[in-house]
Structure formats: C-alpha cells, structure tokens
C-alpha cells in the first residue's frame, strides 16, 4: 500500500524534527538542530530493517519515491519564493559577504578532500 510508505516517511520526518527541536532546546538555542538529518538517518535505518524483514515492497516504496522525485520541483518552487530582490538590493556589503566566502569554500573543498584521503 502506497500509504504505508508515505506514513513511514511522515513518521521519520516527524520524529527527526522532534529530535532536532529537543536537541536545540538541550543546547539552549532557539533553533532546530539537524532535524532533517536525523529524519533521513531514521528513514535509512528503517529501510534496512524493512528490507531484512521482507516488508520493503514495491507499493510501499512508491509512497516515498513520489516525494523523492518531487524534490527538484519543490526546490524550483523554493527558488521562486526566495526573497531574491532584497538579497540583491541589500547593498554591496551583503553581496560581498554572501559571495566571497562561497568562493573560499570552493577553493578549500578540494584541499579538505585530499588531506582526508591521506
């Protein structure tokens, strides 16, 4: 049943977000810490368990796979609802602070990969 997959995804999502909120509160900050990351880990673990038990059926997968494949359209919608105007017009300093570190990040990235491989 497709709804089983969707419910499994929803379960992982809600529990993950809950852990993120609790962790944020524990650390004393007003923010969700890694809720989505926890949710992803939970879903990955549940997938392993379900596979082992033989419950990982095609119908169930469809319920999750739909949202997996909806990911890019959601990102397109997200891009269209970002405050691009204010980002561009918030002044030269904001643009410099927004862009220069990104290039530093791109420059540093291969260094990190290399040093980690050794």
């Amino acid at each position: 049943m497709i709804i089983y997959g969707l419910a499994l995804l929803s379960f992982s999502y809600l529990v993950g977000q809950w852990i993120g909120e609790l962790l944020g509160k524990l650390l004393g900050i007003n923010s969700n810490v890694g809720g989505v990351g926890f949710a992803m880990l939970i879903l990955m673990v549940l997938k392993e368990v379900f596979e082992r038990k033989g419950w990982w059926k095609e119908d169930l997968i469809l319920g999750i796979d739909f949202w997996n494949k909806m990911y890019i359209p959601v990102v397109i919608a997200m891009a269209a609802s970002l405050n691009v105007k204010s980002a561009i017009s918030s002044g030269n300093l904001a643009i410099l602070v927004g862009i220069i570190p990104v290039f530093l990040g791109f420059a540093f990235f291969p260094v990190l990969l290399k040093s980690f491989k050794q």
């Binding site: 999502y13 959601v74 990102v75 891009a79 970002l82 204010s86 540093f108």
Partner: protein, 253 residues
C-alpha cells in the same frame, strides 16, 4: 474569468503544481534546443525560479518572491520549509546508510571547517568595510553562514536592525551563489561521489543552496549533501553567538 480566479484562489497548492510543471517543461525545452542538454533542464528551471523570485519582490515589495503575487501563492506553499524538508528526507530513499556512516567523520570535520571559513571571511569583510564593534561583526559573520544563523545571532546579541537585515541579505546571496556556482564548479573541485557530497554539504551549509546546487549537478548526490548541510544552521546558531562572539569581544573590546 471571475469564476476562474475563484478556482485559482481556492486551490493555491494545485496551481503551484501546474506552474512548476510548466516551468520545468519550458526549461527542459530550452535545455535541449539551445544548450544541447549540456546545461541540465533542472538547473535552468532553478535559475528561472530565482528570476521569478526577483520579479515577485520587484512588483509586490514583499519578501516571499513570486508567491507574494496572489494567484501564485501556492508556489510559496510548495516551496515552503515543510515540503522542502519532507522532500529532502524522502531523498534518503536513494542513499545508503553504510556510505553515510563511512563518511560521517569527514562530514563532521567539514561542518566545523565550513562554519569557520564562512564566519571568519564574513567578519574580515565587515572589518574591511569599517565595522569595529564585536556585535555587528559577529552578526555579519553569522549571516555569511546562513540567513537563519545571522538573525538568530543578531537577536541574541542585540544587534541593530540594519545589521540584522544585512546579515539576512548576505545569507540569501550565499544561498543563491551556491545554487548557481555548484553545478559550474562541481567537476573542477572533485564533487562527484557520496563522500565528497557529504563534505560539500558541510562546507557550504546552506541546505537550500546545497540541495538546489546538487540537484542541478547530479540528483544522486542530493541526499548525501543534505544529510550534513542540515546540521550546519543549528551548529552555527550554537557557536556564533557564544564561542565566536566571546573571541571577537576579546579581540575588539
């Protein structure tokens, strides 16, 4: 016409599905016709999305891009944080738990480096611009991390509203820059495997930017980038207004 507007008004999310579908169709057509598919359709669609976001802000003066235009409000629902996070979690379907575990340490190290690089660079640029007080410097440095870390830090430290607005602006520019430059630089910097995508998510941090940039690069890498990037904002909110601020205060006050 009045009836149609009524239907559109009542069914915002469905209108959003249709709009994004049409935008994707057009982008795939442009990709095939003019770029011989060398630039993926999804990259063009995301870029066009940003253009629409700009136009929305330009015409309405609001802060939610195209979705501030009444008939397009459903795009804002579809692109809002609930569906974004839900779809990102669903991408875990294509990720392997073993690979994530294998690169977990690399991911954590890259998170720390990512926050350090962006914070220090942001503070340095603000310093060069003439800012000297530790509160403003810290808020702007935090804004260089993400557009959430900036205002959270600014609010915690009591920064002026101009500086907070600036930090949000910087974070938004970062998201857009990562979205646009990731597919361009991916090959050059060796971003081609699950492990490297996890490191990339940690370095860049902005989950929206990383997710959109990887989607335009190679959708298979999205879950790996997202699984680390999602910790970045929380970690940034944790150390920017505390540890990093104390260090700045020691230097500048």
């Amino acid at each position: 016409m009045e009836e149609l507007l009524k239907v559109i008004d009542k069914n915002g999310l469905i209108v959003g599905f249709l709009c994004v579908g049409l935008l994707t169709l057009g982008s795939n057509f442009v990709s095939k016709k003019f770029f011989k598919s060398r630039i993926p359709g999804s990259a063009i669609a995301i870029f066009l999305g940003l253009v629409l976001g700009y136009l929305g802000g330009y015409f309405t003066g609001g802060n939610k891009g195209i979705s501030d235009i009444e008939i397009f409000k459903g795009i804002g629902v579809l692109g809002g944080s609930m569906f974004r996070d839900f779809a990102i979690v669903a991408t875990a379907l294509g990720a392997s738990y073993l690979l994530v575990k294998k690169s977990g340490l690399l991911g954590m190290i890259s998170l720390l480096f990512g926050i350090l690089i962006f914070f220090i660079a942001g503070v340095a640029i603000a310093f060069a611009w003439g800012f000297r007080d530790p509160i403003s410097l810290c808020t702007i440095g935090a804004g260089a991390c993400t557009y959430i870390v900036g205002p959270v830090t600014g609010a915690a430290l009591g920064a002026s509203s101009e500086v907070i607005a600036l930090s949000i602006g910087a974070g938004l520019v970062k998201t857009i820059a990562v979205t646009i430059f990731t597919p361009i630089f991916a090959k050059k910097i060796g971003l081609d495997s699950p492990g490297s995508a996890m490191a990339f998510g940690g370095i860049m941090g902005t989950s929206s930017g990383v997710a959109a940039g990887l989607a335009a690069t190679d959708p298979k890498l999205v879950p790996y980038g997202a699984v680390t990037a999602t910790f970045y904002t929380g970690l940034g909110c944790l150390i920017c207004p505390s540890l990093f601020f104390l260090i700045l205060e020691m230097i500048f006050a």
